[in-house]
């Protein structure tokens, strides 16, 4: 073994690799400092994809914190309001496999808005303080109303209300929101509407 160590070819090898190692190590060390990056611009793009319901179901106080968590490598399937669509979008952005929504954070529901039964409202302003997007109007002792267009349906205002006068009602209702569904594969292309009363009347 010792004799081997003194063998010149071995020393050569040592020298060669040492120099290589030293040179490249130096190069990288230099690059590490020279090309340092601060912050994580990706979280902005992630936040742009989150629904901004600000409901905190993801376990973070609002969407931005969650976006930063994702940028740090948290799972992308924790946002129930966003649902599959958001997960898909995130997966595309980050080029990872989309997972199904993580049920422990809640399930995807149809979009809702808060609706205050105004005759019951006692004007306690509690909900106003709770609302993350200032979607509730009103002052102390006067009855409050929800600006439907601003409300994200995060339901944070329900618990604070002492008289439970706030309901969540579906946001998308009526013909204005209807559009054709995607046809099913190979299925019969029409559905039969239950026999209609026109003929009953006529008959």
């Amino acid at each position: 073994m010792l004799s081997l160590l003194t063998d010149h070819s071995l020393l050569m090898a040592l020298a060669a690799l040492l120099s290589l190692g030293a040179i490249f190590g130096g190069l990288l060390g230099f690059a590490a400092v020279r090309f340092k990056v601060e912050g994580n611009p990706i979280s902005e793009q992630i936040n742009a994809l989150l629904p901004q319901t600000q409901c905190g179901q993801c376990g973070y106080p609002g969407c931005r914190p969650y976006s930063e968590a994702i940028a740090e490598g948290d799972a992308i399937n924790k946002c129930p309001p966003g649902g599959e669509e958001t997960i898909q979008a995130l997966a595309d952005l980050l080029d990872v496999e989309p997972q199904p929504l993580d049920a422990e954070h809640g399930v995807e529901k149809e979009p809702v808005v808060a609706w205050i039964r105004e005759d019951e409202c006692i004007g306690c302003t509690k909900c106003i303080q709770a609302c993350p997007v200032d979607a509730i109007l009103g002052a102390a002792k006067v009855m409050h109303t929800v600006i439907a267009d601003e409300c994200t349906g995060c339901d944070l205002c329900l618990d604070p209300c002492p008289v439970d006068c706030i309901d969540l009602i579906p946001r998308k209702q009526g013909i204005g929101f209807w559009h054709w569904p995607l046809p099913g594969d190979g299925a019969a292309r029409f559905d039969i509407i239950a026999s209609d009363n026109a003929t009953r009347d006529a008959a």
């Binding site: 054709w180 209609d196 003929t199």
Partner: protein, 340 residues
Amino acid sequence: MSLLRLTSPHATGQKQVSLVMQDVLLATLPGIAVMTWFFGPGTLVNLVLGGIVAIASEYLATALRGRNPSAALRDLSVLVTSTLLCIALPPYAPWWLIVIGVVTAVLLGKQVFGGLGYNPFNPAMVGYVVLLISFPVQMSSWAPPRGLEATPTLIETLSHVFAPATIDAMTAATPLDLLRQNTGLLFNDLLATRPEFSAWGGLGWFEVNFAFLSGGVWLLYRRIFTWHAPLGMLALLAVCSLIGYDGGSSQSGGSPIFHLFSGATMFAAFFIITDPVSSAVSNKGRLLFGALIGILVYLIRVLGNYPDAVAFAVLILNFCAPFIDHYTQPVVYGTRGKDR
């Protein structure tokens, strides 16, 4: 009375997949007839055997997937696949060759991807190439055309197919083989000296190509496909062979006429590269698709290891088709001038 909800349009045209496929099958008849005349009943036996195997394997595959087999069979596409494959296979090939080829085509070429409409590669050509590289011996032994030897009777044919004796008995090098192996002779001397050639090109092959051409033109007239792909291929094949012809020295790749009317040229141009499923979608795309195939066919025929190049050229371009589609979209109404 009950009312139905369904989308517009409520009127629909007469075109149907099954009818389209039917037309294609009909259009192959002249070609098949001429082949039978020149090479004997071998092709017919191939077709029958292949058809049966194809139906069986399609039925099996769809049944295994719990789909409705009869619906899948009714669109006839599997018959087109097997027919085209069997036309391309050498007559008097042993029965197991046909079986392996057709099964590969239908299962590996088509059903793995989900069946009709989903296969990115041309099933028939998949089957053909798999056979070609696995069994070059059988695949390179074409029967001599009528005029060199008498064509065998049906009985002889059947014995050839089901009790394969020695191969060479039924083999003669095809004109394309000879051109590949030709070292010394000027092109014209080659035509003059070898009996496998007629004035136009391959003896028998010219007529076969002509028959497929006529069938293809009929399909064009029936608007089954557009002229883009076939024209692209034939034009570029002609151009390349013209460039490479150099007056027919022993190095030359053969005359344009020869290339246009020998091997599987016409058959490919009108029946293979027009497979809607595996080719490019837009007309621009199809023109390019065909053109590139034309070039490749020439290059591979002249430089490559394989006497007839169509199958490879088609598969290679199938591979490129999605990318081609990406960059050959038509100019949409109202976007003239604007960059899309």
